[in-house]
């Protein structure tokens, strides 16, 4: 296997007095799907935001394709074109149609000619199963559809890595499946993905590796089967037990 596409080295993030995470190191290989799990407030989302430079880390380094993107001379706008981000609350551009949401990065950031940008945007919308919603505004789409447009918008930039920040947490239960379905397809197409989620089913079925984070550090990581059935740490076991009980209850109710 060649060198990791994304390398996080000793990354630390502090807000005021609060240490969000400390000395986090993580290698992400090309085509790998990594699911980050852990209790809320352990810095999972902040880690994603540091990786695409939306939040500056206090110390440590991040390498993308061998380039240090945390270096002072790195161009953050260029870096973000290579790192796709999908947000918990979708954050589609409200004044643009689904098609224009996907197109705007191509035509305004990549300066692609209109016709080509349109063609590419339609291709990406089709990839998430929404070509028939191209001219709908976000306000006219369901949450699940909005999130799929959000994924298409990020994919359109041809990123090296896709970051998903709890992509289904804001969705009604019956809409979660369609979003996870798109993500599963991407994983099968060997998109490199870093996913923060509480969807344990997705983690078990789709992830190549699961990373368990707690209180600002990585407690344990490994193949889904190892983590689910042979966790090395007591905390991992407890967390997985708690969350699968919760998950099981939800399924019983539904």
């Amino acid at each position: 296997m060649d060198s990791p596409i994304l390398q996080v080295k000793n990354l630390t993030k502090i807000y005021g007095q609060n240490v969000i995470f400390e000395n986090i190191s993580l290698d992400v290989n090309r085509g790998e799907t990594i699911v980050i799990i852990g209790p809320s407030g352990t810095g999972k989302s902040t880690l994603l935001r540091c990786i695409n430079l939306l939040t500056p880390a206090n110390s440590g380094q991040i390498f993308l394709n061998g380039q240090e993107i945390t270096a002072p001379e790195s161009n953050e706008d260029k870096v973000r074109q290579q790192v796709g981000m999908v947000f918990q609350n979708f954050l589609l551009f409200n004044h643009l149609t689904a098609l224009d949401n996907v197109m705007v990065g191509l035509s305004k950031v990549k300066k692609m000619p209109k016709a080509r940008a349109r063609e590419k945007a339609l291709y990406e919308l089709n990839r998430v199963g929404l070509s028939d919603r191209a001219d709908h505004y976000p306000g006219q789409l369901s949450g699940g559809q909005q999130q799929r447009v959000g994924i298409a918008r990020a994919l359109a930039m041809d990123p090296s890595v896709m970051l998903f920040d709890e992509p289904t947490s804001a969705l009604d239960p019956e809409l979660i499946g369609e979003v996870l379905g798109v993500m599963e397809t991407l994983a099968r197409e060997h998109m490199t993905m870093l996913v923060v989620t509480h969807e344990m089913g997705f983690a078990r079925e789709v992830a190549n590796r699961i990373v368990f984070m707690e209180k600002g550090s990585i407690v344990e990581q490994g193949k889904p089967d190892d983590l689910f059935y042979r966790p090395q740490h007591e905390r991992t076991r407890e967390f997985l037990w708690k969350i699968s009980e919760l998950y099981g209850k939800k399924e019983e109710k539904a």
């Binding site: 939306l54 796709g84 954050l91 551009f93 409200n94 004044h95 950031v109 505004y137 006219q140």
Partner: protein, 226 residues
């Protein structure tokens, strides 16, 4: 009062000309004010300390003093420091500067209402801060601003009446001339009032039409949640 129809027949060329100048002053002041207001609003929300301070100073100064004082300072005061402007330029400058201060506040409010998430999403696909402001924030903020902002054209239109004091031949000045010529101030000013009313009516209709034109499904000032 019964003279009003007669005044319209007798003085329609002057009234029309005055109304034209009034409308021109309004449109010019509004345009200048929009540019100034937009720049100040952006400076206040996104600018560094220097630009923020400058914008705050401008807005406070021009909202905090009477338009008439501003007009006189520009027309009678500036020549004192060697800057002499024509009546028309003075009127344009006073109205534009004054309107800009009010528009800055309308626009700042709607920019803040858009929320940081939209900016973050723009940055996340590689837009620079200013590109995201231009492509993402402003198209939404300007739409959101329309209902409140629509007060400004009407308010400015009526404010233009004071520039007759520096003898710009707009609608109010025409009214004064008619009053003096006919010794009938009630009829003359009633006639002028009706013309103002008609222009305001047309302006409102245009603004409503524009608001509907640029409306985006699921994205409105009222019930904007989507």
């Amino acid at each position: 009062m019964s003279d009003v129809p007669e005044f319209f027949i007798r003085f329609w060329p002057q009234l029309l000309q005055g109304a034209g100048i009034t409308l021109l002053l309004t449109v010019q002041g509004l345009a200048a004010g929009l540019v100034l207001g937009l720049l100040s609003a952006l400076a206040r929300v996104y600018g560094n300390k220097f630009w923020r301070g400058l914008a705050v100073g401008y807005v406070e100064l021009f909202r905090g003093t009477p338009l008439l004082v501003q007009l006189f300072l520009i027309y009678y005061g500036l020549p004192g420091i060697g800057i002499t402007l024509s009546r028309e330029w003075s009127a344009f400058l006073a109205l534009g500067l004054n309107s800009g201060a009010y528009q800055a506040e309308y626009l700042r409010g709607s920019i803040l209402a858009i929320g940081e998430g939209q900016m973050m999403a723009g940055r996340a696909i590689g837009m620079s801060k200013w590109r995201a402001i231009w492509e993402i924030i402003l198209p939404q903020a300007l739409r959101l601003a329309i209902p409140a902002w629509a007060n400004e054209p009407v308010s400015l239109l009526k404010s233009t009446a004071i520039v007759f004091l520096i003898a710009v031949p707009e609608l109010m000045a025409v009214g004064k001339t008619i009053a003096a010529r006919t010794y009938n101030p009630i009829g003359a000013y009633m006639t002028v009032a009706l013309v103002y009313l008609a222009i305001v009516y047309l302006l409102d209709a245009f603004l409503k039409w524009a608001e509907v034109r640029v409306k985006i499904p699921g994205f409105e000032a009222e019930g904007r949640k989507a």
